[in-house]
């Protein structure tokens, strides 16, 4: 008797949990559309930046900027060689791996100025990154600190702490404080998201079906990309047949797309918030024996090569890996007392279309390489990035 009672109790608990899940999910749907005014403003701003012309050398996009404001760094001026410290969120994905190699190669260009490049990898843990930065500051062996934060909010206080003792440069994600000398970044997620969505709107037959694939919820950069795309689709009167999270896992992506194909029969365009899944999307169509739809992607070589080879309709907004060069260049400039773009150093964000695809695609580079590495002229190219000569 007592046994069946606890049994029922357990089932009850599970049922309550399930209900709670469902309730929370409903609540989420309601609040998704808040803050739309701020979103609109940022959206418009990034739209103008995409068409603006950056200042700086045209053949070196990593030295260009879309913001013209400069910061004076005379007070940081020091005699070389410099001890550079770098607190990295992680190198847990190919983009970060390519980027870290770009930064190391850039450092090789400045052998005479750089005494040491000390590196701390936070393995995607905010609390480890905070400790790492503190250890750098306490250690007193850094002339400048570069931070690629794992989470903006989490790293803000410790970056503020570090700013008090040495010049700080942030890049990739930034922190919510102005204390770093400059924050290297690209135009932004809205620009990324709208580029792909606009292309779909322009190229898809009327009444076509769009599937949106997302990596994971709750991550700023991906949220802005999909918000922008959703906005573009809404404006064009397109209602995506589905929005799915794939965790950027190829097998899951392929399974999701296959299931959609079996459910709706035909899909005309697939928008992705992260280019790593694009090839899996293409393969799902191949395996189903269907023609390729419009597939958006990124500057990852496997997508570019597939696009080039198969000739489907594609577009690749980018999140340039050359910003890893920029961060180090900025750090050295600061120590030399040269003014740098700041407090935001906004890098251009190239858009790869069929018109300029040839310029980026390179069959000699490995599939997980990023074409906007800006590394073609760096020492060790292409072997350092796994490419063939």
């Amino acid at each position: 008797m007592a046994e069946s009672k606890t049994w029922r109790l357990g089932l009850g608990t599970i049922a309550v949990a399930a209900l709670a899940c469902a309730g929370l999910h409903a609540a989420r749907a309601q609040t998704a559309a808040t803050n739309s005014a701020a979103v609109d403003k940022e959206f418009a701003y990034e739209q103008t930046l995409m068409s603006a012309k950056p200042i700086g050398p045209a053949d070196k996009p990593w030295e260009q900027s879309l913001s013209t404001n400069m910061v004076d760094t005379a007070k940081y001026k020091k005699a070389p060689p410099y001890r550079v410290c770098f607190s990295n969120a992680s190198i847990s994905n190919p983009w970060r791996v390519v980027g870290w190699k770009v930064m190391q190669a850039e450092a090789d260009l400045h052998k005479s100025e750089i005494a040491s490049l000390s590196y701390a990898d936070a393995q995607d843990k905010d609390d480890k990154q905070i400790s790492d930065i503190r250890a750098f500051v306490t250690g007193g062996k850094c002339d400048v600190l570069i931070v690629s934060p794992h989470t903006s909010d989490a790293l803000t206080p410790v970056v503020e702490e570090a700013c008090k003792s040495l010049p700080v440069i942030t890049f990739d994600r930034n922190v919510r404080t102005d204390c770093p000398v400059t924050a290297v970044r690209t135009i932004g997620g809205y620009a990324y998201g709208m580029a792909g969505a606009n292309f779909i709107v322009e190229n898809m037959p009327k009444g076509g079906k769009v599937l949106m694939l997302r990596t994971a919820p709750g991550i700023d950069v991906f949220e802005t990309r999909s918000d922008a795309a959703a906005k573009v689709f809404k404006a064009a009167g397109i209602k995506p047949i589905g929005v799915e999270f794939t965790g950027a896992d190829n097998a899951k992506t392929k399974a999701v797309v296959s299931d959609y194909l079996s459910r709706v029969g035909k899909i005309d365009a697939v928008w992705v918030d992260f280019g790593a899944m694009s090839v899996a999307v293409a393969e799902a169509f191949e395996d189903a024996g269907q023609d390729y739809p419009i597939i958006t992607g990124e500057d990852q070589e496997d997508y570019l090569q597939k696009w080039n080879q198969e000739g489907f309709k594609g577009i690749a907004p980018t999140y340039p890996a050359y910003q890893w060069r920029t961060a180090l260049i900025a750090a050295l400039d600061v120590l030399q007392g040269k003014p740098v773009y700041g407090p935001d150093w906004i890098l251009p964000q190239p858009l790869i279309t069929s018109a300029n695809l040839a310029q980026y695609v390179d069959p000699k580079m490995p599939p997980l390489h990023y074409a906007t590495c800006g590394c073609e002229t760096l020492p060790g190219y292409p072997e350092r990035w796994g490419g063939k000569k």
């Binding site: 606890t6 049994w7 109790l9 357990g10 608990t13 949990a17 709670a20 899940c21 929370l24 999910h25 609540a27 989420r28 609040t31 998704a32 992680s90 190198i91 000390s118 590196y119 701390a120 990898d121 393995q123 995607d124 843990k125 905010d126 609390d127 480890k128 905070i130 400790s131 790492d132 503190r134 250890a135 306490t138 250690g139 007193g140 062996k141 794992h150 989470t151 909010d153 989490a154 803000t156 206080p157 994971a216 919820p217 709750g218």
Partner: protein, 324 residues
């Protein structure tokens, strides 16, 4: 099971933890001096090292209790995220809501712990599966509802992680309090004695008149509460809870690893928080030493695995009984 050569009685039971701590400390100091980073041995350097222990240390104390009672908790990582997110949502930058946020996080901890405990003790679900399942449910709920639950903690709450009392970071005090409390309960109170009894042999404990289910549920609640406290600390340390803070931190498997490195038996009934805290110290020094030595992070990962296995093997290898 008794084959492992663990000294017993009185001060002797601190021999293993002490050895671990001394080894780790020597390696840390040698590395700091060897790489000319003597500053890492200064007060603030050492405090920085200790602060690396806080989040893992608090939850590992809870994990110790669950392992001692013969269970295990894989849901702590996701619970840490839940606690951090709930706390920052409830506080939402508002100083007046701090107490409410803390209460909410602890309450969720108690609830999750009770569910874990009931599944394990009453429904006899294998604790690995029960807590893995509960962890997955928490993860699902969290990722679904994160946008609804966004928020951040007020500056005054961040004192917990960043404040100092007489030069000693508050966070380290918090860890000391949690460790001391758990240590006291285990070593001095009847409840602690019975907890060891339940973990050592449920049948024996039951026949000795102990309400074993209550202890299993209680240990799970305690573990979940420590996870909630860890979550609160991380919210304070990071300014806001994120739904991945616990999982990315690997607090589930790491907390189990440090407890076992500290000499607590996975099957329960032997061990304690002193060993656990020594294990946490070892983990903290691994991170710090690898940083100082500029070890490639991938190589670091390989070495971490080797160290975990090596540390445990160093005293299990003499065990005669079969282990699985």
């Amino acid at each position: 099971m008794s084959g492992a050569a663990i000294p017993r009685g009185g001060l002797a039971k601190f021999r293993l933890p002490l050895a671990l701590v001394i080894c780790a400390a020597v390696v840390y100091a040698a590395t700091a001096l060897g790489t000319a980073q003597g500053e890492q041995l200064s007060w603030s350097g050492v405090m920085g090292l200790l602060q690396r222990m806080v989040a893992l240390g608090i939850v590992a104390v809870g994990q110790t209790l669950v392992l001692l009672v013969g269970s295990i908790d894989l849901s702590v990582a996701n619970l840490i995220s839940v606690s951090a997110v709930i706390a920052s949502h409830v506080m939402n930058g508002n100083t007046d809501a701090i107490a409410l946020g803390v209460l909410a996080a602890i309450a969720i901890g108690i609830l999750v712990g009770a569910v874990n405990g009931v599944l394990v003790a009453k429904l006899k679900v294998s604790p690995l599966i029960a807590t893995l399942g509960v962890g997955l449910v928490l993860q699902g709920v969290l990722t679904t509802s994160y946008e609804t639950l966004a928020g951040s903690v007020p500056a005054s709450f961040r004192v917990l992680a960043y404040g100092r009392v007489a030069g000693l970071p508050l966070a380290i005090l918090l860890l000391i309090v949690v460790v001391a409390l758990a240590g006291f309960v285990l070593a001095r109170t009847a409840a602690g004695y019975r907890l060891y009894g339940v973990g050592g042999n449920v049948q024996t404990a039951r026949l000795a008149g102990i309400r074993t289910d209550r202890f299993i549920i209680g240990a799970h609640i305690a573990a979940s509460v420590t996870a909630a406290i860890s979550g609160l600390y991380l919210a304070s340390w990071l300014g806001a809870g994120t739904p991945w803070v616990g999982r990315d931190g690997g607090y589930d498997l790491d907390s189990i690893a440090v407890v076992v490195i500290g000499g607590t038996l996975l099957s329960g009934g032997r061990g304690g928080v002193a060993g656990t805290i020594a294990g946490v110290f070892v983990f903290a020094t691994i991170d710090a030493v690898f940083n100082m030595l500029q070890i490639d992070p991938f190589l670091g990962q390989v070495l971490r695995g080797v160290i975990v296995v090596g540390a445990v093997a160093s005293y299990t290898i003499r065990t005669k009984a079969h282990v699985a």
